[in-house]
Amino acid sequence: MAGESQHLVADAAARIFADLAEPSAINRAENGGWKEPLWRALGDAGLTLAWVPEALGGSGASLADGFAVLGVAGRFALAVPLAETLAAGWLLACAGLEAPLTPMTLAPVRPRDRVAADADGKLSGRAGGVPFAQDCRHIAVLADGGERPVIALVEIKDCRLSEGRNLAGDAMNVVTFDRAKPLRSAPVPGGFGRSHLLLMGSTIRSVATAGALEAILALSLAYARQRVAFERPIGKFQAVQQNLARLAGEVAAALAAAGSAADAIAQAAAFDEAVFLEAASAKIRVAEAAAEGAAIAHQVFGAIGFTREHMLHRFTLRMLSWRDDFGSESYWAAELGRHVARRGADEFWPLVAAR
């Protein structure tokens, strides 16, 4: 539920993005010179370490505040590792570890990837699809330990990276740990595991995607009013209106699902069954909305929306890429389906109606 605090912090973030990361300006930028001042402003505002308690070097904002910022970041199709740094800070804090004041990413982001910590605490393994790894200084890692999982902070320079980009051109790397020595590490509290990280990461992506969908709805509406064909604005044609109404439906579904999942995580004492239902459902439904919504927006814009010059792709390609992070919709659908099947038909409705 968006309270006063979320409005304040979201407004602060929106001002920074509007000044330093306005999508059409970024789309015209010749190089990445905009990133440095943007990152500095975000850091100065305490947004990068929002989910790190003050005692661990962060600004100690609530989970709800952080999710509000990520929704706004999605509305700007933000192409710096803010979500990743927030999540890395959160992960480190789960083990009581301090966070550095640098851009961070985290691993694993794919359900099958494993990193292991040996008896000396050194890490080995491979993690694919790690967002922005080559642009970051540090990576927070959830690794299999001897008895309990371990959370570790590692310098990127101590890992091997493969070159890679996602659909939107953002860095996305395979990170290989070859007896990498962490700067610091600690075992995680009991019960915490990979699924928690994946559910949290999924919700981060769901919230940002819902924001991006809001933005493409606004862009599409503005274009439909302004673009004239057959002597009328195209938004006056019923066929186009029906498409835009469908887009609004997908945006609404994404906002509701992502908002509900974020609220469930922000309120929950633990990652329980309700959080699993919420976060997995949101990742699935929001990914579906991203695919459907991107297709409709591109249809509204026609050829101009397919150009590099137009900023629409900044939103659509990012949303489509985000579907793969922290478990795709197919992965979560299989997990959710198995869970529901295990509970049985008679226990299905009580699960759905729990919240």
Partner: protein
């Protein structure tokens, strides 16, 4: 420009969960005594006066209405919980449901005091069934093309003409219907319709059954020949019914009945798939669960907005658009996911009969109470395109 679509996450308060437990216990009792079968499709569409009276006795009709009219002054979220428990259980609530959902609120808003005092408490006791008279043989979605006429006479109005596709008219005690009291004006083609409360026992009303392709008698043609409606049964402004239409839409459009009409096939699928489905079954099921969960959270959110006194017309229309399409497609998705299961497993579920029924009723789900096309027109207007 920014579009403000609001779907704040609502957490149901503790009193809702207590109420949910009461509703489940009540329904379990009704199932045990044989009132209905949660797995038998069609039971949820039936009219059961005795059941409705028992629901009324529990205080679950007119839940949000003021006490002086028999209501219980509970929240929209509490009403939401009861409605969704009844729908999910396939309970036979059709006798009282329309009166509870939309006719009662219209009476509350527009009826004279003595009419409210007379009728609303009887709705709350589960004694009255309402029908809605909108479509006519020559007009459906184009509501304001209605031709059935009301002419002023001493002390009231004489009504003539026909309404059609009228659900429950054959059991209804009253109908809330639109009749033409003036021709449309040049400036406003919506002008000239008035909303009337019609006592179905009045002379001059014939109800002719229209059987549906499912074999059910779901709806009717209602013919009025010089039927009389007294002045105090005029609801709201004469010639101005169009002004009254929009605010009730959110109530009518966003409830759990807009995505749970074929819910039983999903439960049947889970039973048929068993505790360890293959990957295809698991993934397909998971997607359906995610879609259902999302619709429910949207619908709860709209209930929260109603509770806060807002009129979420666009949000309500979106819920109905997405919800009815989903419940319409559900039988087809379930059929695909069950395609490779053993026939005996499907029969035991009992999925085959459920699927047959749901497949037959599916086409109506995106037509009744506002078609997909009309809803999207409303959404487009809300987006500023019209």
């Amino acid at each position: 420009m920014t579009v403000n679509l609001n779907f704040d996450p609502i957490r149901l308060p503790p009193e809702c969960q207590a109420l949910r437990a009461e509703a489940r216990a009540f329904l379990a009792e009704e199932i045990a005594t044989g009132t209905f079968d949660p797995h038998r499709p069609g039971d949820g569409d039936s009219h059961d006066r005795a059941f409705s009276r028992r629901v009324g006795a529990r205080g679950w009709i007119g839940m949000t209405w003021p006490r002086p009219y028999g209501g219980h002054e509970r929240s929209h979220l509490e009403r939401y919980v009861v409605t969704e428990e009844f729908r999910a259980a396939n309970a036979p609530d059709h006798f009282h449901f329309v009166a509870d959902r939309q006719s009662g609120p219209i009476l509350l808003k527009y009826a004279p005091e003595h009419v409210k005092k007379d009728i609303l408490p009887r709705i709350c006791r589960g004694e009255l069934c309402f029908a809605i008279g909108m479509s006519e043989p020559g007009s459906g979605s184009d509501l304001f093309a209605a031709k059935a006429k009301a002419s002023k006479v001493d002390g009231g109005w004489r009504i003539n003409g026909s309404k059609i596709w009228t659900t429950s008219a054959h059991v209804a005690d009253y109908m809330l219907a639109l009749f033409r009291t003036s021709p449309p004006s040049k400036e406003n083609r919506r002008h000239g319709l008035t909303q009337f409360l019609v006592d179905m026992k009045s002379p001059g009303i014939a109800v002719n059954p229209i059987y549906q392709m499912t074999g059910q008698r779901g709806f009717n043609e209602v013919v009025f020949v010089d039927a009389f409606v007294p002045d105090d049964y005029v609801m709201g402004e004469i010639d101005g019914a169009w002004k009254q239409a929009t605010s009730e839409l959110a109530y009518e459009r966003s409830g759990p009945e807009r995505f749970l009409e074929t819910f039983y096939v999903l439960v049947g699928l889970i039973r048929a798939l068993g505790p360890q489905p293959d990957l295809r079954g698991a993934e397909g099921l998971g997607r359906l669960v995610a879609q259902l969960h999302t619709l429910r959270r949207m619908s709860v959110s709209v209930a929260g907005m109603l509770q806060a006194g807002k009129e979420p017309v666009v949000e309500g229309s979106i819920v109905k658009d997405l919800g009815t399409l989903w419940e319409q497609k559900l039988p087809g998705r379930v059929r695909e996911l069950a395609a490779f299961l053993e026939p005996e497993i499907i029969n035991r579920a009992p999925l085959a009969d459920q699927l047959a029924f749901a497949t037959m009723i599916a086409p109506k789900l995106t037509i009744q109470g506002g078609t997909t096309e009309i809803l999207r027109g409303i959404i487009a207007r809300g987006l500023g395109l019209r």
